[in-house]
């Protein structure tokens, strides 16, 4: 469950932070894909997973900057740019996979150094405790820490306040003297870093290889989880865990003859229902308020 949800988690964080500034970053899928490739290629050629993570981050930031420049400077529609960048990322990684790694489909090799798992020696004595707590990848811990770090930054710092004020009302933020353009670029770069980490996890933690289109909709699920949590990283994490849980439950229930598709669609339906419920309740409250106001008048 944790393993399944972590790759979505990074995507969720990457687009939560931009959504706060009113940027719907659907390009996170492409960011992760390019980063996953960069991580595998670097790990393969240098044999260092630390360098691989850095390469993934740089790749992620580069893609994020393409989106940022197109959207902020050239006023391209963010959704169109995001979808196009996803397409570009898919084509570029496929091309690079053929021509740099000389592989078609997926690339795997003994020379790829994966990101290590965290083992605590004290816990490995007991078999149950060991299997429960001692088999997680380093990135899974980093992901969980990052939830709270981004949550803190968004809700407790000046930086977060400025970002959120852009999302709430860009004109007001501009009037209040916030450098909206700079702030948006910074947010996109952070989003690139987070997406880059997610890509590195996908290719060096979750699996140890690169496969064409290996993100396979995880970026979009991250967007869905972001909507689920209404841009709040902690609530979004709940969404990620729900996706991850249903994913693993789905594959197990299939053994009992329950079609996995019926389970796999649940998270999406639940998210749509929650979104609708929140807004329907909000609308009810509003009309109630209006009718009482009218009564008083």
């Amino acid at each position: 469950m944790i393993r399944n949800s972590t790759s979505i988690l990074f995507a969720m964080l990457a687009c939560s932070i931009t959504q706060q500034a009113n940027i719907l970053n659907v390009g996170v899928e492409g960011i992760m894909l390019v980063a996953a490739f960069a991580a595998v290629a670097t790990s393969f050629f240098t044999g260092s997973w630390v360098l691989a993570i850095f390469a993934a981050i740089i790749a992620g930031v580069l893609i994020a900057l393409i989106i940022a420049v197109a959207n902020i400077k050239y006023k391209a529609d963010i959704f169109a740019v995001g979808m196009t960048v996803n397409m570009l990322a898919l084509a570029l990684t496929k091309f690079a996979n053929h021509n740099i790694l000389h592989a078609s489909g997926s690339f795997t090799s003994q020379d790829i150094k994966p990101i290590p798992d965290v083992k605590v020696a004290a816990l490995s004595g007991n078999a149950v405790v060991d299997s429960l707590f001692n088999q997680y990848n380093l990135m899974e811990f980093i992901g969980i820490i990052l939830i709270f770090v981004t949550g803190y930054f968004m809700y407790k710092t000046v930086f977060g306040l400025r970002t959120r004020s852009i999302g709430m009302n860009q004109m007001a933020a501009l009037t209040a003297g916030i450098n909206v353009v700079k702030q948006k670029y910074v947010v996109m770069v952070i989003s690139g870093v987070l997406g880059g980490l997610g890509g590195a996890y996908l290719s060096l933690g979750y699996t140890h290889m690169f496969t064409e289109n290996m993100t396979n909709g995880r970026g979009f699920m991250g967007v869905a989880a972001m909507f689920f949590g209404n841009m709040n990283p902690v609530l979004g994490w709940v969404g990620c865990l729900l996706f991850g849980l249903l994913d693993s439950v789905g594959s197990q229930l299939q053994a009992y003859g329950i079609p996995s598709q019926l389970i796999l669609m649940q998270p999406y339906i639940i998210t749509v229902l929650i979104l609708s419920a929140v807004l329907i309740v909000r609308k009810r409250k509003k009309t109630k308020l209006q009718s009482t106001n009218a009564g008083e008048a």
């Binding site: 393409i66 050239y74 740019v81 979808m83 091309f95 999302g167 609708s276 909000r282």
Partner: protein, 351 residues
């Protein structure tokens, strides 16, 4: 669409081809020869040109579907879902009914596809119109639901029991005639072109079209002059979903002959991008859809004669669209009713 826009689109095409040419040159091939093979692949012989036409049909229909939704200022990313469900409905009617003459069977399948796609699009439309739920979000999510529903149906109740995830083949009376064999081109092409003409006429020469366009341009004004913008938005979304459903139905009836699990692979996404680079001008959509179809089917030709793989063409297409959207500065924003419309849940306007 102003004259400048045409020039800008042309420039983005050239820029993308130029960058692609540099990459091809670095890879050790002659870019001009490679592009020559590309166009030869897209036009030469029955197979080449037929494949281009076969790719053109769904692109045109899904682009029109997206266009009509943006006309009423709803951003229907769910065309892909409608396409799947429409394909499934058409396949069901296609193999379920037997002994019906083709004159009745073919329209029945198309109507089933259109109805399935259209009704599916009404879900996010209703949520958007009556409760202001962000339609981009719901349509992205509902796409997965639609794909899962069809995947369930094709694996269980409607499976052909042949081992591979597909429905039984549709009966001959339901299939569209193929021409230019061995390519997959079929009479669905003419259905798509006819729908384009009808849609253009409807949008610009009927009161219904006027109501739709006016709703998209200014809902408050429309309401003032007696148009019900909510109803128009629902209508626009229904048409959008129905077009997506017909695109799916044609894929089943003309290309595959049955419903295959996961057959689309993002057709509607490409259609959406076609609509986006056409900058709200419906007359450009067929041109752009055709251009994209040439690149896609020509990529195979290029791959056959050089050792370059088709990913380079996908990259060129993506670059071209990226450039085209980037210069789409002003027009795009106004078409979709300002930047606030298609972003977050909690924008200032909702408070």
């Amino acid at each position: 669409m102003k004259k400048n826009d045409y020039i800008e689109i042309l420039l983005s095409i050239l820029a993308a081809l130029f960058i692609g040419g540099i990459v091809i040159f670095i890879m050790g091939f002659n870019p001009l020869a490679a592009y020559g093979e590309l166009f030869k692949g897209a036009f030469q012989g029955n197979f080449g040109f037929g494949s281009t036409l076969a790719k053109f049909t769904p692109l045109l229909l899904t682009a029109l579907a997206f266009h009509i939704s943006t006309t009423v200022s709803v951003f229907n990313v769910g065309v892909e879902g409608s396409l799947y469900l429409g394909a499934m409905a058409a396949a069901w009617v296609g193999f379920g009914l037997t002994g019906v003459p083709a004159v009745i069977h073919v329209p029945l399948c198309l109507i089933a596809g259109a109805a399935a796609g259209g009704l599916w699009a009404l879900i996010p439309a209703a949520l958007k119109v009556y409760y202001n739920v962000n339609e981009i979000c719901t349509t992205i999510l509902l796409n997965y639901v639609a794909i899962d529903i069809t995947s369930y149906m094709v694996n269980f109740p409607l499976s052909s029991k042949s081992g591979s995830p597909q429905t039984p083949s549709i009966s001959d009376s339901a299939s569209l005639t193929e021409f230019m064999l061995p390519s997959k081109a079929n009479t669905g092409l003419f259905i798509a072109i006819a729908l384009f003409v009808v849609l253009y006429w409807m949008l610009y020469h009927t009161t219904m079209g006027y109501r739709l366009r006016s709703t998209g341009a200014n809902p408050a004004f429309s309401e003032y002059v007696g148009i019900n913008p909510k109803r128009e938005m629902m209508a626009g979304m229904f048409i959008s979903g129905a077009l997506g459903g017909i695109a799916g139905a044609i894929e089943v009836m003309g290309v595959y002959g049955c419903f295959l699990d996961n057959f689309s692979n993002g057709i509607a996404n490409n259609g959406m991008l076609v609509a986006l680079i056409s900058r709200g001008d419906i007359r450009i959509i067929p041109v752009m859809a055709f251009f994209l179809a040439i690149l896609q089917s020509g990529a195979l030709g290029m791959q056959r004669y050089t050792s370059l793989d088709d990913s380079i063409i996908s990259a060129i297409i993506a670059l071209f669209i990226l450039f085209a959207t980037m210069q789409g500065l002003f027009k795009l924003k106004t078409t979709f009713g300002g930047p606030k419309k298609h972003t977050g849940l909690k924008t200032g306007s909702e408070k």
